[in-house]
Amino acid sequence: MRLVNIRPGRQTRFYLLALPFLLVAIAYFAGSSARLTQNPNDKLLPALPGMVQAVKQMAFEVDPRTGSYLMASDTVASLGRLGSALAISTVAALVLGIVIGLLPGANALLGPFVSVTSMVPPLALLPILFIVMGLGENSKIALIVIGTLPCMIRDLAMKVQELPREQIVKAQTLGASTWQIALRVAMPQTLPRLIDVLRLQLGPAWLFLIAAEAIASDSGLGYRIFLVRRYLAMDVIIPYVAWITLLAFLIDVGLRVMQRRLFPWFASVRAE
């Protein structure tokens, strides 16, 4: 049988899914035990008990200096920044995306500008942000917004322009004004696509968050990783990276579920 025609069953699919994860784990722990037998004090590839111990200390024991659970307070700080930045980006992208996608005049005015600004490397702006806005929360949130917003606007405007021309004409023959077309035709159909766009921008958003926290911060997941790097504390860094990955994955799944629940009509539209 040709490879293109072989479809794995349910069970096979599960094993296949687990395989790459398993291989990575095996490779890691094999390497770890090899290094640790040579030198029990090796810090580069810590064994599982060491990482469990570190997580216990970070997540479930009160830090004597700050009086808080470090992993929890880091998570809250990072998710707060990420959440507020993505909220700003999402709302702004929705409004501007619809305006640019729906109004040819606005597209002529803002379309090229947005395309150009989406090419500016946001990390190159970070020093400017620190100088102008200080080292506090604002500059970090601003970095994430600058890093994600232009792409989101551009993508969303494109999605609005992809709405069939017939729909816009039909709405006008039902007497819709521009505002009414935006409100009842463009926006409801843009919202599920906005979730797609947001999911795509989650990766860059995390990147800019960690970068901003690494450079100037006193809390957050990225701050902690770059802090303990000084002591080669791989037993903290690796669980933190795994935790960030899990958070990002859960946010992604949450958005996907939200899209399916809130917009039951969207699946068949996308299938077309």
Partner: protein, 277 residues
């Protein structure tokens, strides 16, 4: 109910002439079928009537006034595809026209007004044979049902002219026959002037009062660009068809789409729409 007059209308895209010397007079309540080979500009003509495109030369008049240069609620339309909104349920699709008319800012009706609009929409849905489907999304409907929905949606707003762009072209023959009956009934019971583009001649002759054929008079390759299509046949259907006189139908009180008490014998239901001011 509107008269349409096209006065020496041309449509050119740059050097390319699509339509030329289109002059015709359409009486109120007529049912015009536009036929012709593909690429002859039938749809372009329809889009000009819609206001989506402007003639390069000449003028289109509706009831003696120049046509507005953008689509509006005077002219309803049903396309072959994408006519209904995929994000609205069947009921919401039909109610939309009323909501857009009566709620300028929110474009949504609540409370008593919302219930009244929903009642009217439900009656209209029953009229087009979509009773019981009101909470489905259009993607769950068959092609024929989607076009019935598109008709109901267009008629709910009470247009004077209904423009149909190959509306039944993608349907199976049996379903098409059913929807032809519905189309005839709607045309009789409302006060629409209908212009339908079709490539199905039996459909054209079966429904219309008048069949207009568009054709290129000169079709040699070197002439194609510089000579557009024009009206080559203008056939009145015989025996003459005309919509049932409106006087047999009671005008509906303001705020209703259908007279609940008056029932025309021999017809499933009298559909009476109030005229737009």
């Amino acid at each position: 109910m509107s008269a349409i007059r096209l006065d020496d209308v041309w449509k050119e895209y740059g050097d390319h002439i699509v339509l030329e010397r289109i002059t015709m007079e359409v009486e109120p309540r007529a049912f015009i079928a536009l036929v012709g080979p593909s690429g002859c500009g039938k749809t372009t003509l329809l889009r000009m009537l819609l206001g989506e495109e402007q003639p390069s030369r000449g003028q289109i008049m509706v009831d003696g006034k120049p046509l507005r240069a953008e689509p509006d609620a005077d002219r309803g339309v049903v396309f072959q595809r994408y006519s209904v909104f995929p994000h609205l349920t069947v009921l919401q699709n039909v109610m939309l026209g009323r909501e857009l008319r009566d709620a300028k800012f929110t474009a949504r009706l609540f409370g008593a007004a919302g219930r009244a609009a929903a009642d009217d929409a439900m009656k209209l849905l029953a009229e087009v044979g979509l009773a019981g489907q009101e909470s489905k999304y259009p993607s769950a409907l068959s092609g024929g049902m989607q076009q019935r929905l598109a008709l109901a949606q267009a008629i709910m707003r009470g247009p004077k002219i209904l423009l149909l762009d190959e509306p039944f072209g993608a349907l199976d023959p049996g379903i098409r026959a059913d929807i032809h009956l519905l189309m005839k009934r709607l045309w009789n019971e409302t006060h629409l002037t209908v212009v339908m583009v079709t490539h199905d001649l039996s459909e054209a002759f079966g429904l219309a009062t008048r069949v207009i054929a568009l054709e290129r008079q000169r079709n040699r390759p070197e002439e194609r660009e510089r000579y557009g299509a024009t009206v080559s046949r203008d056939l009145e259907i015989f025996p003459r068809r005309s919509a049932e006189p409106r006087s047999s139908v009671q005008p509906a009180p303001i705020g209703t789409t259908r007279s609940g008490t008056e029932h025309q014998p021999g017809r499933p239901g009298a559909l009476v729409l109030k005229e737009q001011p």
